[in-house]
Structure formats: structure tokens, C-alpha cells
């Protein structure tokens, strides 16, 4: 039987296991939307295409599956670009389906035509323009395969309107074979032995885990390694949740706003195991002084990550989970021969002292609400079990520091690109992935306004997403830099004019709360979290609170500004 391109596309999505598509229709994709009701696929109508791509990204991060979004040509497609770059920087598997003008019009500056394949070439793992309906099923199969395999990432498929209308026989390609793409998953046995021996010989070992641990579901193997060999663990923003935040070996995040203990540990370790991390400048500070006493082992599935920013001693290109499981197997017999606990005791003690000397802290106040205390209270009220999304800025760092994550896939934040406006639509996506979970977007008053229109999406789908705005009336992180490094020239960072967020919530049919007094914090937060449906909590916090510790950009990790 012959099917149209639109029918083939949707059949392929079903077979790829797509549960929900986030999208926004337009002229070039009407044929696809025309078929959509016949498929049983769930479609969530967003209010801006950026919301669609972030929601698909949030769905992917919270579920570990491939997210999917569908938008029209031209402006529909360009509106997704920020979200595509966000997913690309954080290696998130998303398939973006964009409409395109009919093939005879391509290149003619037709209405709503844009070369989206050209535009997104540097921010997708790969992208396609489908010119022949006979190739469609193959392309969709490859797109999902590429998105989820190897180092995951966004893959865009551009779909001209006439290709969606043409008919052909539908053949589902059972296998995907690409001669030019063969990611290496299995760790090299010789390198595993080498790393195992380095671990046996180390006196001051440290695990520096990144988002790759979460992507590859390596958290259990990592936890085994850390706990049985008594190795302290720090993680990047993207790695939070890969190791229980309640464990005594947990040092907190490292880097620019990392903990004193984590940054001191990096500086003094004799062995650093970098796992699924990429030595980002926000993590390393001044590269030449990063981990100066350590032998560096770098486990990553992407060969380009290795030796890119930092020269490492032992590279290991492999899937993090397979590599850590191989290490576990290699080191299990050593548990009898070696006294790891005793051997690492002086080091673990030393690290513990650093953690006690300068724990994450802030000056409590009885008159103003400290933003950190809001995050702490959220952690307490949710028993650390919520899915936390963030926007970008000070609130993001406080969420990372003070919500001690115990599970992977529960902290959704734009780490690499730093996209304001990411958190709320991502929370919508996450709520579809995890209907059982409480999903909270910890936001700033600046960031939340970048995709506030998605309140309509959240309300009309009866989602229980809670938005907690740490409202300081500033673009706080930029203001902090202006205070510390630009003589308090607060140019364009004061957001005096802002909407009444409570009324705004009500206008969209959500519920709004406002908290201005520290004494009301717990009671009203509890009430907000217990309120069904979409809720905004406008928490008026200390206006000029700063995020500490802070390593100034380009400084060594040990040059921390403390509270």
C-alpha cells in the first residue's frame, strides 16, 4: 500500500517509540498535522517554537529517551535554533522536524523559506533535507539512531511540503547501517588495566564526573567505584545527580561556583578520573593550573573531547558505563588485597576538613528572604525527590549548590549554552516524561519572562509544574559581575518594571503566590506545592545577594572568593 510522506513520517515516529511531539503548526507542515489525529501520537501545542524544542529537550533529559518537536518552515524553524544549540552543547538527543517550502521553490526566496539545514549545520549532530519521499523512512531512522547513539545530540530533518504529499510504498528499514558512523562503546582492555593500576596506586584519587555519566546511565557503576574504593566525588553542573548528594564522599559541584572542598580537592589530588566531562572553562578556570599534581584519566565517548582543552595522561574513548563496569570488574578482586579505605583515609579526612572549613553557606536574615534558603526549603519540602529545572543565572547556581540531588535525570539545566528561558518549557517536557514526579522550575525574574507564554501550554494540559521565582528585580548574575569587576556600574541589569507575577499566573488560569517575609516562606511554599495545577510562586528575595564561592573568569580554581 502506498502512503503519503506525511503518513510515512508519522508511522516512522511511532515505530521509533515517540510518545509525545511538541509542536506548532504552519503552512509548510499542514499535511503532517492533517494526518496527526489518525496516529494516536500525542501532540502538545506550545505557544512559541522555542518552547517546543526546550520541552522536547526537557522530555529527553528527564526520560533518557529521544525528544521530538515539529515546527513549520521559516520563522518556525529559526525559532528553534537557540533550543537546538542548547541541546547540542549539552549532548541531548532530540529530533527536530521542520517544514520546508515545496522543492521546486527551494532557493527562490519563497514565502517562509529559510535554509534551516545551512543555519543549523554547526549546532546539530547532523541534519537532513529530504528531497525524495523514497528516502524519508531511511532518513527518519538514521536521525533517531544518530540522536541517541554515540555522544547524543540534536538531529534536524527538513521536510519540504511536496515531499509530505507525495506517495510511495512504505518500507520500514529494520537496520541502520552507516559506513561513516561507528561510535566506539567498548573500552580498550589495556587502558582499563592501566587505569585500574593507577587507582590502586593513588593516594589522593578524585572522581570528576560530567553529564556523560548521566547520559550513559553510569551512575550505579560510578557509585560502586566511589564507595568501595573510597574515592571522593565532585561533578560538573551537568553531572549533578550522578552520585548521591547526601553521601559523605560527595564534595559538591566544582568550578567557578563550585565548593571550596571540590576545588581544593582538584588542586591537591594525585589522580583525577574525569568521566563523561569535557574540561569546560567554567570548570577548569585557568587551564594551566588545573589539577597540577594529578595524573589525569579521561573517559569519554567522544574522541574530540579528549586532549581538546587539557592534555591528559590516560585517554579512554568509550561509553562511560561500559568503562566503569570494566573497571569495577577489574578492581573487584583488589578489594581483598588492597585496603582502599585505610589507604585513602588521610585524603578523605583532608577533604572532609576542607568541606567543614568552608561549607556552602550564606548569612541568614530575619528581615529578608535569602534565595539560598528558598532552595534549601524546597529540598526539605520535596525530600530531595523533585525534578528541578532552572533557567540561567544566580538562581541556577543556588539550585545547583543547595538542592542536593540524589538521582540522575532530576536536574535539568542549560549548562553549555546557558540559555535563559530554558527551564520552564523544559519543565513542561519533563512533566510529560515523569507524570509521577513533582517538577519545579527554579527561575529568576529575568529568565522566566523569556518563555512565560508557555504558561498557556502548561495550564491547558493541566500540568502540575511549579515555578518558583527567586525575584530580586535584577539580572542578578550580570549584576554580580558588575558589582565585583565593573565598579558597580549596574547598566541595564535592574528590572524595576516587571509584571505582577501573581496576577499574570491568574490571567493564564494558573495559581499565583507571593512571599515577601521569611516567616511565611515555609508555609506558603508548602501551600504552593500542594496546590494542584500550574503554580507561580513569586518569592521576593534579598536583592543584592551574590553567589559564592566564586572563581573569577580565567583565575585558578584555588583563587576563590568566599562568603
Amino acid at each position: 500500500m502506498e502512503l503519503t510522506g506525511a503518513q510515512i513520517l508519522l508511522e516512522c515516529l511511532k515505530r521509533e517509540g515517540v510518545e509525545v511531539i511538541f509542536g506548532f503548526p504552519g503552512g509548510a507542515v499542514i499535511d503532517i498535522y492533517n494526518e496527526l489525529p489518525n496516529t494516536g501520537l500525542k501532540h502538545i501545542l506550545v505557544r512559541h517554537e522555542q518552547g517546543a524544542i526546550h520541552a522536547a529537550d526537557g522530555f529527553a533529559r528527564a526520560s533518557g529517551k529521544v525528544g521530538c518537536c515539529l515546527v513549520t518552515s521559516g520563522p518556525g524553524a529559526t525559532n528553534t535554533v537557540t533550543g537546538i544549540a542548547t541541546a547540542y552543547m549539552d549532548s541531548i538527543p532530540v529530533v527536530i522536524l521542520t517544514g520546508q517550502v515545496p522543492t521546486p521553490l527551494i532557493g527562490n526566496d519563497a514565502f517562509q523559506e529559510v535554509d534551516i539545514v545551512g543555519i543549523t549545520r554547526p549546532c546539530t549532530k547532523h541534519n537532513y533535507l529530504v528531497k525524495d519521499v523514497a528516502q524519508l523512512a531511511h532518513v527518519i531512522r538514521q536521525a533517531f539512531y544518530l540522536a541517541r547513539s554515540g555522544r547524543p545530540g540534536p538531529v534536524l530533518v527538513d521536510l519540504p511540503k511536496d515531499v509530505m504529499q507525495q506517495k510511495t510504498k512504505f518500507i520500514w528499514p529494520e537496520d541502520v547501517k552507516m559506513r561513516s558512523y561507528n561510535p566506539n562503546y567498548k573500552p580498550h582492555a589495556g587502558q582499563i588495566k592501566k587505569v585500574a593500576q593507577l587507582i590502586r596506586d593513588a593516594e589522593r584519587p578524585l572522581i570528576y564526573a560530567g553529564g556523560g555519566v548521566i547520559t550513559s546511565k553510569a551512575h550505579e557503576a560510578l557509585t560502586w567505584l566511589a564507595k568501595n574504593l573510597h574515592i571522593p566525588v565532585t561533578a560538573t553542573l551537568m553531572g549533578l545527580g550522578c552520585f548521591p548528594g547526601s553521601d559523605k564522599l560527595w564534595l559538591g559541584m566544582l568550578g567557578m561556583h563550585g565548593t571550596y572542598a571540590a576545588n581544593m580537592a582538584i588542586n591537591n589530588a594525585d589522580l583525577v578520573l574525569a568521566i563523561g566531562a569535557r574540561f569546560d572553562d567554567r570548570v577548569t578556570g585557568k587551564v594551566s593550573t588545573f589539577a597540577p599534581k594529578a595524573t589525569l584519566v579521561h573517559i569519554d565517548i567522544d574522541p574530540t573531547s579528549i586532549q581538546k582543552n587539557v592534555s591528559v595522561h590516560v585517554p579512554l574513548v568509550a561509553d562511560c558505563r561500559l568503562a566503569l563496569e570494566a573497571l569495577q570488574e577489574e578492581l573487584t578482586p583488589s578489594l581483598i588485597e588492597y585496603d582502599f579505605e585505610g589507604g585513602h583515609m588521610p585524603w578523605v579526612t583532608k577533604v572532609g576538613i576542607w568541606a567543614k572549613e568552608h561549607p556552602l553557606s550564606y548569612q541568614p536574615s530575619e528581615t529578608t528572604i535569602k534565595p539560598q534558603s528558598v532552595v534549601e526549603k524546597l529540598h526539605e519540602l520535596t525530600r530531595g525527590e523533585a525534578v528541578i529545572c532552572t533557567e540561567v543565572g544566580q538562581h541556577q547556581m543556588w539550585a545547583a549548590q543547595f538542592y542536593r540531588f540524589n538521582e540522575p535525570n532530576c536536574f535539568l539545566s542549560s549548562g553549555g549554552l546557558g540559555t535563559m528561558g530554558y527551564g520552564f518549557p523544559a519543565a513542561i517536557g519533563a512533566q510529560f516524561a515523569r507524570p509521577d514526579k513533582l517538577v519545579i522550575d527554579i527561575a529568576g525574574d529575568g529568565s522566566i519572562q523569556m518563555n512565560i507564554q508557555e504558561l498557556a501550554t502548561s495550564v491547558c494540559n493541566n500540568l502540575g509544574v511549579k515555578i518558583v521565582i527567586l525575584n530580586n528585580g535584577y539580572l542578578g548574575m550580570v549584576r554580580q559581575w558588575q558589582e565585583l569587576f565593573y565598579n558597580k556600574n549596574y547598566c541595564s541589569t535592574c528590572m524595576d518594571a516587571q509584571p505582577d507575577f501573581v496576577k499574570l499566573a491568574e490571567a493564564y488560569g494558573a495559581t499565583g503566590f507571593r512571599i515577601t517575609e521569611p516567616a511565611d516562606l515555609e508555609r506558603v511554599l508548602r501551600q504552593a506545592l500542594d496546590t494542584p495545577g500550574t503554580v507561580i510562586v513569586d518569592v521576593r528575595v534579598e536583592r543584592e545577594e551574590n553567589v559564592y564561592p566564586m572563581v573569577p573568569a580565567g583565575a585558578s580554581l584555588t583563587d576563590m572568593l568566599l562568603v
Binding site: V117, H126, D302, K308
Partner: protein, 160 residues
């Protein structure tokens, strides 16, 4: 150091843009780039010469391999290889210096492919050093136009 990379790619629209975009986006330098078909119509070979220290070249090679449409990357600099470039040169030539130019053409085994009262067009082929030497000798006559193919290269059969 200058490196010559032989990059085997899928012959499909946009592949050149993926490769050149990678170089420009990551701040790598392309000195020359040549693309041509192979006996397999689905495959093209690019020969790229680029410059950088070991760490940069390693990144370039890895980043190229990461492109989905790139099948194979070989750094010919590390191997014994044959490297050739073709150059077409239009040179000022009058009665007083034409003989001298033709002598150089002869020494370098070039060919005269076009001639007029006051110009000579020369076809030259050779490796990087030969072309540099030739240009060095001909500059003083006044090179009016130049067209270069970029290097093409093949690994030698016997590597030992």
C-alpha cells in the same frame, strides 16, 4: 607545521559546507582545499592542507572524523606520499625577457599553454617546494594572474 589531510567523504550536497564550516567555526586555517570525484560515484576525496601544532592537527583530524558524512581521514604528512599541485601563471613577457622565462620553464619542466605579444601562460605541476621555487624565480618578471589547484595527494604504495 603544514599537514596534508586526505578526507574521504560521502558525495552529497552540503558536505563541502560541513567541512569548511568546521574549519571556520573552530578557528582552524585552511591553506588549500581540493575536492574531486573518485571511481565510486558516491564518494569524493578532499585534499586539505592546513597548519598547526600537534594538538591542533589532532583536533582537526578528530573533528573531521566526527562529521557524519566523513568516511575516512588520513594525515598524509605522517606517511610517505606523493603530493602535487597544478598552477597556471600568466606572466609579462617581452622580447627582452621571454628567452629567460622560457629557460626557467624548461628547467622546471613546465609547459607554455598560451602565448601573446606581451604575455606567456605557463602550466606547472609539482610539490609545494617546487611551486614555491618557481614562483620565486618568476615574480621579478611580473605575474599578472595565478590560478592554483590546491594540493592533491596519494599515499605511496611502499611505506617502509
Amino acid at each position: 607545521m603544514r599537514h596534508t589531510l586526505s578526507v574521504t567523504v560521502e558525495n552529497e550536497p552540503g558536505v563541502l559546507s560541513r567541512v569548511s564550516g568546521l574549519f571556520s567555526g573552530r578557528g582552524f586555517n585552511i591553506e588549500s582545499l581540493n575536492v574531486g570525484p573518485t571511481l565510486d560515484p558516491g564518494v569524493s576525496v578532499m585534499t586539505i592542507t592546513t597548519e598547526g601544532d600537534e594538538q591542533i592537527i589532532e583536533q582537526i583530524v578528530k573533528q573531521l572524523r566526527k562529521l557524519i558524512t566523513v568516511i575516512k581521514v588520513v594525515d598524509l604528512t605522517e606517511l610517505k606520499s606523493v603530493l602535487r599541485e597544478m598552477v597556471l601563471l600568466k606572466i609579462n613577457a617581452n622580447d627582452t625577457n621571454r628567452a629567460e622565462i622560457l629557460r626557467i620553464v624548461d628547467i622546471f619542466r613546465c609547459k607554455v599553454v598560451d602565448v601573446s605579444i606581451d604575455e606567456l601562460t605557463i602550466e606547472a605541476a609539482g610539490n609545494y617546494d617546487k611551486i614555491s621555487a618557481l614562483l620565486g624565480l618568476l615574480t621579478r618578471f611580473g605575474i599578472k594572474e595565478i590560478a592554483r589547484s590546491g594540493l592533491v595527494a596519494l599515499k605511496r604504495s611502499v611505506q617502509a
